[in-house]
Every structure is written in C-alpha cells, then in structure tokens.
C-alpha cells in the first residue's frame, strides 16, 4: 500500500498500474463472469436441447428477457439507496391495469393510456419513497405494507377482471420481430438500460443517487439533498416496474391482475436475481446496469433452456433459488479475494 503509493500527480506510473490491474479487475468482475456463463450455457443448451438457438426461441428469449431486465433494473434503482422494494410487482400490475382501464373504461387513446400507466407507476414509487424518507423506517417494511395496499386496491377496483380488449399495438409489439429473431421489446429494455447507464455515469442526479446510497450522512454534509434523491430513486423504480408490466401486457395481449402472482410476489425472485448476479451491492452505493442486464438475461436463458430440456416448470423455480444462493456465495469469495489483494 503505502510503499508503492505514488502521489496523485504521477499520472503515468499510476495509469500503467491501473490499466494492468483494471484488466485483472475486469476478468474478476461479475459482468465478465456472467458473459462467460451465458456463452457456456448457450453452447450447452444448443447441444442438449433441440432448437435452443432457433430464431423463434431466440425471439421468445428476448421477449422474456426484456421483462426480466426491466424488473431487475427496477429493483436495482432502489438497491442503490441501500433499501429494497417489495412492491415492484404490485406497482407494475397496478400500472398495467390502470392502462387497461384508461383504454377500455375511460376510452383514452392508447399512447395517453400508456403514459397514464407509467405515471401511476412513478407516482406509487414516489409514495413509497416519501414514506421511507419521512418515517425513517427501512424500506423493507414500508414496501411490504404498500405491496399489500397497492395490490389490494388494484384488485378491489378491478374486481379481479382482466382487460383483454386492448388495441392491436400491444399484441403487435409482442409479436413483431426485427431481423427475424429480435423482439422490439428486447430493444426497449436495452434502450432503457442504456439510459440508466448514462444516468449513473454521466449525470449529477445519478451520481448523487449513488452517493446518497453509499453514505447518506456524508452525502448530506457534502450538499446532496438526500431525501429528494431517495424519493427520485423510488420513483424511477416505480416507472421501470410499470414499463415492465406494460411489456408483459403486450406479450400477453391483455392486462391480467394475476400476471405477477399473489401480491406481485412472483416478481421478487427475478427482481433480485438480476442485480445480485450482476454485482449490485445490497448495502447501496454501487450499481451495475450491465451486470443486471446480463444477470437477468442469464436467468431467462436458464429458465428457457431447462424448460426446453423438459425439466418441470416447478423445479426450475428451485433451480433459480439455488442459483441465487450460488451467486451470493461466489460473490462473497470474490470480494474477500479482492480485499486480500487490496484491489477493491
């Protein structure tokens, strides 16, 4: 440490040192690991299961991955604050149902209805964030409660009925293909991820979110408006959850109250799998947009591959749980290695 320390001025030796070690850091990173796993499993499934790399399967994969990526990103934005959001599924479904009602019940044009759905998602997120900030309670218990409230209210208002008479744009979006095997839904998810990358890397707002998440006291004393920033993170989470649910609506061709399971709980596992596999810290202050996308993609791919190999859908759930455990354990090992080497 101190013996090899050079002053901030000597940029030349410092940069040489950092480019060498940054290659090693990249090879040790979650993102690289995930990339390797994706390639390995793609090859494996290609060999074992017929038609894994067929255009149709790739298209279906992209469609499912799009939803999982957005769900993962939605959780990631709140993980950045050191909190979490159990209400993602409930918020998403509520937003999609609102969109359905705006079209079928209120007779709005679909673009307005979609905007309405997204706005509701963002609004519910703001509600969460506001309560977290004002009560000073952990977001776990707040979002546990609002998950129940949002979902209950949605079911009460919709009486559990689906909206199935949606305009053709929705099912068109679900069915359309670009270059024979890419779903436009996948492109939407990737585009969203790019926007988020720019947010965290190149804007004050994104940087402040990370600073506030890593150490709220220090961020506050350095001029960051922590409360506002935390609310913004929750708002972003709601917005992304709404987008995920709208894409799911497009895929299903209908807005269905149960599309995220009881209370929206079915989204919890994918929501954590993506970010945790991708190296987002649960303590907050560090996110990896690329990692979350790759993680979500890997999860989607494994699910699809296992189903193609006729592993029962129920066992796949167990398998994903084990995957999450493995990811956690490997991450622990990696981190302690980095710490011993003083690399992180």
């Amino acid at each position: 440490m101190t013996d090899s320390a050079s002053s901030a001025m000597d940029t030349r030796p410092a940069s040489r040192l950092s480019s060498r070690s940054s290659l090693r850091l990249f090879l040790l990173s979650n993102e690289f690991g995930l990339l390797v796993l994706i390639i390995v499993f793609a090859a494996l499934f290609h060999g074992l299961a017929n038609g894994f790399l067929s255009p149709f399967n790739l298209f279906a994969l992209g469609r499912n991955a799009a939803v999982n990526i957005l769900i993962g990103l939605s959780m990631m934005t709140v993980l950045a604050t050191g909190g979490l959001n159990l209400a993602i599924g409930a918020m998403g479904v509520a937003a999609a149902m609102a969109c359905g009602w705006l079209i079928e019940g209120a007779g709005l044009a679909w673009p307005l209805a979609v905007l309405g759905g997204l706005a509701l998602g963002a609004g519910l997120g703001v509600t969460n964030g506001w309560m977290v900030v004002k009560t000073g309670l952990h977001s776990f218990i707040i979002t546990l409660a609002t998950m129940s409230i949002f979902f209950g209210a949605m079911i009460f208002l919709s009486q559990g009925e689906s909206y199935r008479a949606l305009p053709a744009v929705f099912s068109d979006l679900g069915r359309a293909r670009v270059f024979t095997f890419v779903s436009p839904m996948f492109l939407i998810a990737v585009g969203t991820a790019l926007v988020l990358s720019v947010l965290y890397r190149y804007t004050v707002q994104g940087r402040e979110m990370l600073a506030a998440g890593a150490r709220p006291e220090a961020a506050e004393m350095s001029g960051v408006r922590v409360e506002r920033t935390v609310i913004a993170c929750h708002m972003l989470s709601g917005l992304l959850a709404a987008l995920a649910a709208l894409l799911l609506t497009a895929r299903n061709g209908a807005a269905i109250p149960s599309m995220a399971g009881q209370l929206g709980q079915d989204w919890l596992l994918p929501a954590f799998l993506g970010p945790v596999l991708g190296g987002t810290l649960l303590q907050g202050g560090k996110v990896s947009v690329l990692g979350t996308c790759l993680g979500a993609f890997l999860v989607t791919m494994l699910t699809s591959g296992l189903l193609l190999m006729q592993v029962g859908a129920f066992w796949v759930q167990s398998f994903l749980g084990i995957l999450l455990l493995l990811a956690v354990m490997i991450d622990k090992g990696r981190r302690s290695y980095l710490r011993r080497r003083n690399l992180a």
Binding site: L84, M131, T135, G136, L137, H138, F140, I141, I142, L144, A145, T146, M147, S148, I149, F150, F151, G152, A153, I155, F156, Q159, G160, Q262, L263, Q265, L268, L269, F272, V276, L282, G312, F314, W315, V316, Q317, S318, F319, L320, G321, I322, L324, L325, V328, M329, K332
Partner: protein, 322 residues
C-alpha cells in the same frame, strides 16, 4: 400509582387497549360478533395465525427477517399430508416428519445466512423459491386428499364451549416461547444478538449458534402452523403458506416488535394476531369487499410501524438527555 404506570409501559398494554376498543366498537354495531360460533371461528384462525406470527417474531428478535416462513409451512404441510396418504404413516409420525422438515429448512436458512454473511432477506428469498419449488415439484400443484378422519376430527373438535382443540398446541408454544425469551439463556441470547450483536459476541455468545437456533425455531413453528392448517382444512394443499408473508409481519409489528432486533413480546404479538383476526372477521360481518382486507392489513402495518417508531424515538430522546 406506580404499578399503574408500569402496567401502561408494558409492551402489551397498547395492543390490548386497541384490541378492547376494536371489540367494543364492532360488538356495539354488530351484536352477533361475540356469539359462540363467531368466537370459535376467531379462535380457529388465531391458532394457526399466531404460529405464523411467532415464526417471524423469533427472526425479528435477532434483527433479521424470514421470507420463507410460508414456503416452509407449505412444504411441511404437504410432507405431513403426503406421508399419511402415500406412505400410510400414522398421523403422529407424519406430524413429526413435517416438523423435522420445518426444523431442517429453518436451520438451513440460519446456516446459509451465517456462512454467506449476506442479508437474511436475500437468503430466505432464495430458499423460499427452493422450498416452494420442491413443494410444487413433488405435488405437481395437486393437493393430498388422503388425510385420515382422526386428523380432520382434531381440526374441528372443541375442548369446551367455543374453544377448539387446535388452540392447544398454539397455547403451549406461546407459553414455551414466553418462558424461553424471558427466563432461559437460549432466549436471552437470541434477544441479545438482536439488541447488540457485537456486545453479545464480546460476552461470549456464539452468534452462529444463536442465529441457527432462531432460524430452526422459526422453521419449526412455521411447520407446526402448516400441519395445523392441514388438520383444519382436511386437505394437504400445496398452496398453503402462499399468503403468509404479510400476515407474519403484521402481528409482531402491531405488537411493537423492534424490527432492528432485540425487542419482541410474545403477549403483544398474540394480541397483534387477535387484532388482525378481529378486523378480518369484522370485514366479513359488515360484508365489506374481502379484497379490501389486503389494503387494511397493509395500512395496519404502516400505522403500527410509524407508531412504534414514534415511541422508540421518544424513548431514545429521553435516554439521550439522561
């Protein structure tokens, strides 16, 4: 007078007051509320829900959370029913089998939390889907209907008046938990780890052993809840436990449990369960849309945690000035 203030300051005084007020209001509007039949329905719900709440409470005591309470309960329930239907085991052995499965699942949670050093949230989310997947993988989402008559009878029999047999195990568990958390070193260790893990460790408490113990107890209680539910329903449904998550947090939180750990109360949690049961029951009596139950449960949790927060900060404020 001092005995009165001590009474007021106990952790169960607030919930008790809320309970009495709620009962009084509902009774005045709907006189059938305290009918024997209704009390029996309430007690049946209490028997299972209290165990679910205790299962979460013991984990809140160490400052963690357990998302897999429902999954463990469901797995134990189908293990119990399946062992009787498929293997033809006698009910007591089948129940023991279910309990052991719950205990093992809980202990595994604790071990994984300890080894990984990760937040219990993520670990129990992972095991939740593992246990649930195993449950569905075995049953293929089909219920076990071959529950013996004796078990069904136990589920509906009454000891006396409106008091069903089903509350007996729950009452025993409540007394045991109360005794353990108040009087036995094991219980004190659990609370100490939740209150100040570092201090507990410095005083020679094995954190690993305590955390695993708490999770094992949690698994055991969840399993017992699942088994009692099979007895009450008369079928081993794989969906048992799916809706326990909110329920498991609501009662301890209404009972004033401190989520950061170190302070839970068996009596207050029990009263929390009663409050939830009363309100759910009242919704039925007033024929309010059952869909609203979720909204009200969520609202109750929010109200309770905010209230606890206020109480705790007043407490800290006083302590800070001292």
């Amino acid at each position: 007078m001092p005995s009165l203030t001590r009474f007021v300051r106990t952790d169960w005084f607030g919930p008790l007051l809320a309970c009495i007020v709620a009962i009084a209001i509902i009774q005045s509007v709907s006189p059938t509320f305290l009918s024997l039949a209704n009390i029996q329905v309430l007690l049946l719900a209490l028997a299972v829900n209290a165990l679910i709440a205790f299962s979460q409470m013991i984990i809140i005591a160490i400052g963690q959370m357990n998302l897999s309470v429902g999954a463990i309960g469901g797995l134990a329930a189908i293990a119990f029913a399946g062992a009787m239907e498929v293997w033809g085991l006698p009910a007591p052995l089948a129940a023991l089998f279910g309990l052991i499965i719950g205990l093992a699942c809980g202990a595994l949670n604790g071990l994984l939390v300890r080894i990984s050093g990760m937040s219990a949230f993520v670990i129990t989310l992972a095991t939740l889907s593992i246990y649930k997947g195993v449950n569905l993988g075995i049953t293929e989402a089909q219920a076990f209907y071959g529950v013996p008559q004796a078990v069904k009878a136990f589920g509906s029999a009454v000891i006396a008046g409106p008091v069903p047999w089903l509350v007996a195990p729950t009452a025993l568990v409540a007394v045991w938990l109360w005794f353990m958390l108040r009087r036995q070193p094991v219980g004190r260790f659990i609370l100490a780890v939740g209150g100040n893990e570092h201090a507990a460790e410095l005083s020679g408490v094995s954190i690993a052993r305590t955390v695993v113990t708490a999770h094992a107890i949690s698994g055991l209680l969840a399993a017992l809840a699942g088994i009692l539910l099979v007895a009450r329903l008369g079928v081993g449904q794989p969906s048992i436990g799916d809706d326990w998550l909110i329920l498991s947090f609501a009662a301890p939180v209404i009972g004033g449990a401190v989520l950061s750990g170190g302070s839970v109360s068996v009596a207050a949690t029990l009263l929390g369960v009663v409050i939830v049961a009363i309100i759910t029951q009242a919704l039925v009596l007033f024929s309010i849309d059952p869909y609203l139950t979720q909204v009200i449960l969520g609202g109750l949790i929010l109200a309770a945690v905010s209230f606890n927060r206020l109480r705790e900060s007043r407490f800290i404020g006083r302590f800070g000035r001292a």
